[in-house]
């Protein structure tokens, strides 16, 4: 067994100011296996892999690769030793094109000169391999979240490696892309690559894992062979209580139409009509790149509408900016929390209260009120943080997502537009969020939810719209909502 280990972490200790993440943590990776790490938000998964990748140094403990201890790990060192990492949050160069993103730091050269052609060819090759439509010359900042993740995967795969680490790679993918990625991962592991895979989608875990390590509060609960594990047990280990992975929501009373858009176009969206009623959750589905985010941006006044008309409560309104939208009691939870949701350098207090300022016209605020509001919602969302004065950048990915949700729940809107609301959120917390959403619907609020998480979409939606190429191709009523139906319409007749 021992010589089978490609990687071994022993006695790992790691703390941040105010947070002790690991006390005495051990972990190992067998050659050629897919090892999944599961745990609640803030359990320490990302911290663990960042110590492997060299982004962080452990305070204590050893990391051994092929029985050789790595000292003073840095990303450069780790990459040199064949560890490739895809981080949970984007780590890209938004101003550069795809080729330059893929090879930054690992450029191909002929002598001292760059081998541009070689790099472009290799880019094309890897994009082909990933069945991606991205062009090598696209500026990465212009790509959507999903495409950006694809670029990061391509970047990791393009280098020769022994260990591949993926931290929630699928959170902005839809079903089709996820299946495709999982296939690739399986194939690579069969070819001898060792893989660490982190995901909150437990079904993915059961598809690809050879072993699973569960972390809770920085402690290893256990490492299982996949055969010895079922979903029930896994969740119980993670959360410490019983949670059903299939949430069943309570019904809410659906009444009048609250928001109605007629034949709107612009921002890559063509001729879309939709409405959502009070107490109704309208799901929007589609493949990555189908234009769902673009539609949401249009509804919220982020981007310019070329034509069409919007009515709220039966009255025509102009929504030219997010400010107008908020004044009309709408809110928009964007899919990219770091670039459009959070003020990373600011405290949770500032992050949670900023949008609610638009609610009242008084120019004054009381800092103590801000703290109270913030504490209320931070607590309600169960964000793991030493205090509400912690900077958002020091939270775990899932907890950051919860802060974004908290910001908008604090505004007490009537229409919530969610774009991938539960990205990176653990099963236990998801249930809490669904409960809050149900509560909102009960109070007569409306929700438009864009989601690539099929079970979530099916469990929560009253109706589902399916988008393709910037158009709505079908409306699926409650009784007909099921996975095959949605998928079939998303992909369209062509495949």
């Amino acid at each position: 067994m021992k010589n089978n280990l490609i990687l071994e972490m022993k006695g790992i200790q790691k703390a941040f100011p105010g947070v002790k993440v690991f006390d005495n943590f051990n972990f190992d990776l067998i050659k050629g296996e897919v090892h999944c790490i599961c745990g609640e938000n803030g359990a320490g998964k990302s911290t663990l892999i960042k110590m492997l990748s060299g982004a962080y140094l452990p305070d204590k403990g050893t990391i051994a690769l092929d029985e050789e201890v790595i000292l003073n790990n840095t990303p450069r060192l780790a990459m040199g030793k064949g560890i490739q990492t895809i981080y949970q949050e984007h780590n890209l160069y938004p101003l550069l094109n795809v080729v330059n993103n893929l090879f930054a730091g690992n450029e191909m050269t002929n002598g001292i000169l760059l081998d541009s052609k070689g790099m472009i060819d290799k880019t094309l090759e890897i994009l082909d391999f990933l069945h991606s439509e991205i062009s090598p010359f696209d500026i990465v900042g212009d790509l959507g979240s999903g495409a950006q993740k694809t670029v990061e995967i391509a970047r990791a795969l393009i280098q020769k490696s022994k260990i591949l680490i993926l931290d929630e790679p699928t959170s902005s993918f839809s079903k089709k892309e996820i299946d495709f990625l999982l296939n690739i991962i399986k194939k690579l592991s069969k070819e001898g690559l060792s893989i660490i895979y982190i995901s909150h989608h437990l079904d993915e875990v059961f598809v690809i894992a050879d072993r699973v390590t569960v972390i809770r509060d920085g402690e290893k609960v256990n490492t299982y062979l996949i055969e010895d594990l079922d979903e029930h047990k896994l969740i119980n280990d993670m959360v410490g209580r019983d949670v059903s992975s299939f949430y069943k929501r309570d019904e809410a009373e659906i009444s009048d139409v609250f928001y109605k858009a007629d034949n709107i176009s612009g921002n890559g969206v063509t001729d879309v009509s939709l409405f959502v009623r009070k107490g109704e959750l309208l799901g929007i589905s589609g493949m990555v790149g189908s234009g769902r985010t673009e539609l949401a941006e249009l509804l919220f006044g982020v981007k310019e509408m070329n034509q069409g008309e919007i009515q709220i409560n039966g009255k025509e309104v102009n929504i030219d900016t997010p400010l107008d939208a908020i004044a009309n009691r709408m809110c928009f939870i964007t899919e990219d929390r770091q670039s459009t949701g959070l003020f990373l350098d600011h405290s949770l207090v500032r992050n949670t209260v900023i949008a609610s300022y638009a609610k009242s016209t008084s120019p004054f605020v009381l800092p103590s009120d801000d703290v109270k509001i913030s504490e209320k919602y931070i607590r309600q969302m169960n964000v793991i943080t030493p205090s509400v004065f912690q900077k958002a950048m020091y939270l775990s990915g899932g907890n950051q997502q919860k802060v974004v949700l908290a910001k908008w729940f604090a505004t007490d809107c009537d229409l919530f537009i969610f774009d991938e609301p539960t990205r990176g959120i653990d099963v236990g917390a998801k249930e809490e969020i669904y409960k809050i959403m149900t509560e909102l619907l009960r109070k007569g609020k409306s929700i438009i939810m864009i989601s690539s998480d099929m079970p979530e979409l099916i469990a929560m939606s009253d109706r589902v719209l399916v988008m393709r190429n910037g158009r709505i191709v079908v409306t699926i009523e409650k009784s007909e909502i099921n996975e095959e139906n949605i998928l079939q319409h998303s992909i369209g007749g062509s495949e």
């Binding site: 509060d217 919220f300 205090s387 910001k407």
Partner: protein
């Protein structure tokens, strides 16, 4: 776990006053300031043959001096702090002061306008031009560096046109803003400019703390896109901030004018560098979203004291430049190392 968590959150909020002081983001720079004062005091004391009455650095007279010297820079720095919190910069303020100051002097001299009227004129001109600049910057998102550099050159030309390069004296008028003072002890005077600076600093601090405006400025500087999506009309907000900064520039210009008693065409030349340096030393990031009013006040006083101390200690002017440069670098380095100790992260 959720219980534990909320308890922990509550605990942090109940921190003692002293702990809060130490953890405060201005604590380090304040400490550096105190350190410099103490060191200079001792150097002064020992070099005066250890006769306390001969050590002048902490004399009432010198303290009132330093405060008077930093007041105008301080008022400008308050305004620029807002602009920089938003992630913008303004290089035009020095020559704007020249332009506004000399124009007001011109109006007083040639049309006999009263003090209040020229103050009004100064405010109108400053705010108008800052709004114009703010309009361009907020609408185009072009680098405020280069736009404000353009305005700087324009103000310079305006100043020369108004003055033809010569001073416009006020003939002993318009003294109340700059030359009046309250005598607190026989040697310690509180000059009106200092009073204005203190009042504006407190006012701005209250605004930053207790108004939406104050909170939003951090949001705009911290993440413009997120701010836009959180319902802030970023363009108009920026416009407003430039307007407010214009108000501060007007007050600073009028105070400077009154102090000098003459509309000197070079009365503000080069001030932009002093002002921005003070704001940066005070902890405001050029990239925006980080910093605060007291930091700026500390930065202004720190740089003011460095200049003053070198003069008081009678350092040769050639060495003064070297010492000043070293002290600026050392101050921010000390600030850096103590903040690193507080939260040691690698990248």
């Amino acid at each position: 776990m959720s219980n534990e968590n909320s308890e922990q959150i509550a605990r942090q909020t109940r921190n003692s006053f002293f702990q809060k002081m130490i953890q405060h983001e201005n604590a380090t720079m304040f400490f550096v300031l105190v350190l410099i004062i103490v060191i200079v005091f001792f150097v002064d004391f020992f070099s005066s043959g250890m006769v306390l009455s001969k050590a002048k650095f902490l004399s009432g007279l010198n303290i009132s001096n330093v405060m008077l010297q930093v007041a105008v820079t301080g008022i400008m720095a308050l305004g620029i702090t807002l602009v920089m919190l938003m992630g913008d910069i303004d290089l035009s303020i020095g020559w704007m002061m020249c332009f506004v100051g000399t124009t007001s002097a011109y109006l007083l001299r040639n049309f006999g306008w009263s003090g209040w009227m020229i103050i009004l004129a100064g405010v109108v001109i400053s705010v108008f031009f800052q709004l114009l600049m703010g309009f361009i910057i907020s609408r185009t998102k072009l680098e405020s560096f280069i736009i404000s550099l353009g305005f700087m050159s324009i103000y310079r030309g305006f100043t020369y046109l108004v003055t033809n390069g010569r001073e416009i004296t006020l003939g002993g008028n318009f003294k109340f803003l700059g030359k009046t003072s309250i005598k607190l002890t026989p040697t310690f005077k509180l000059y009106t400019p200092v009073l204005i600076f203190i009042i504006l600093a407190i006012l701005l601090w209250l605004i930053m703390k207790y108004t939406k405006f104050g909170r939003r400025i951090y949001a705009v500087g911290g993440n413009e896109k997120a701010a836009f999506l959180s319902g802030i009309n970023v363009m108009n907000f920026k416009l407003m901030v430039f307007g407010i900064s214009g108000l501060f520039m007007a007050i600073a210009s009028m105070t400077q004018l009154s102090r000098l008693g003459t509309g000197n065409p070079l009365m503000g030349q080069g001030k932009e560098i002093d002002v921005i340096a003070a704001v940066v030393v005070g902890g405001t990031a050029l990239s925006g979203g980080k910093g605060n009013i007291w930091g700026t006040v500390i930065g202004v006083i720190l740089l003011g004291i460095i200049s003053n101390a070198l003069n008081i200690l009678g350092v040769n002017p050639h060495y003064q430049y070297i010492m000043k440069g070293l002290l600026i670098i050392l101050s921010v380095l000390v600030g850096y190392y103590s903040s690193v100790r507080k939260n040691n992260v690698k990248s």
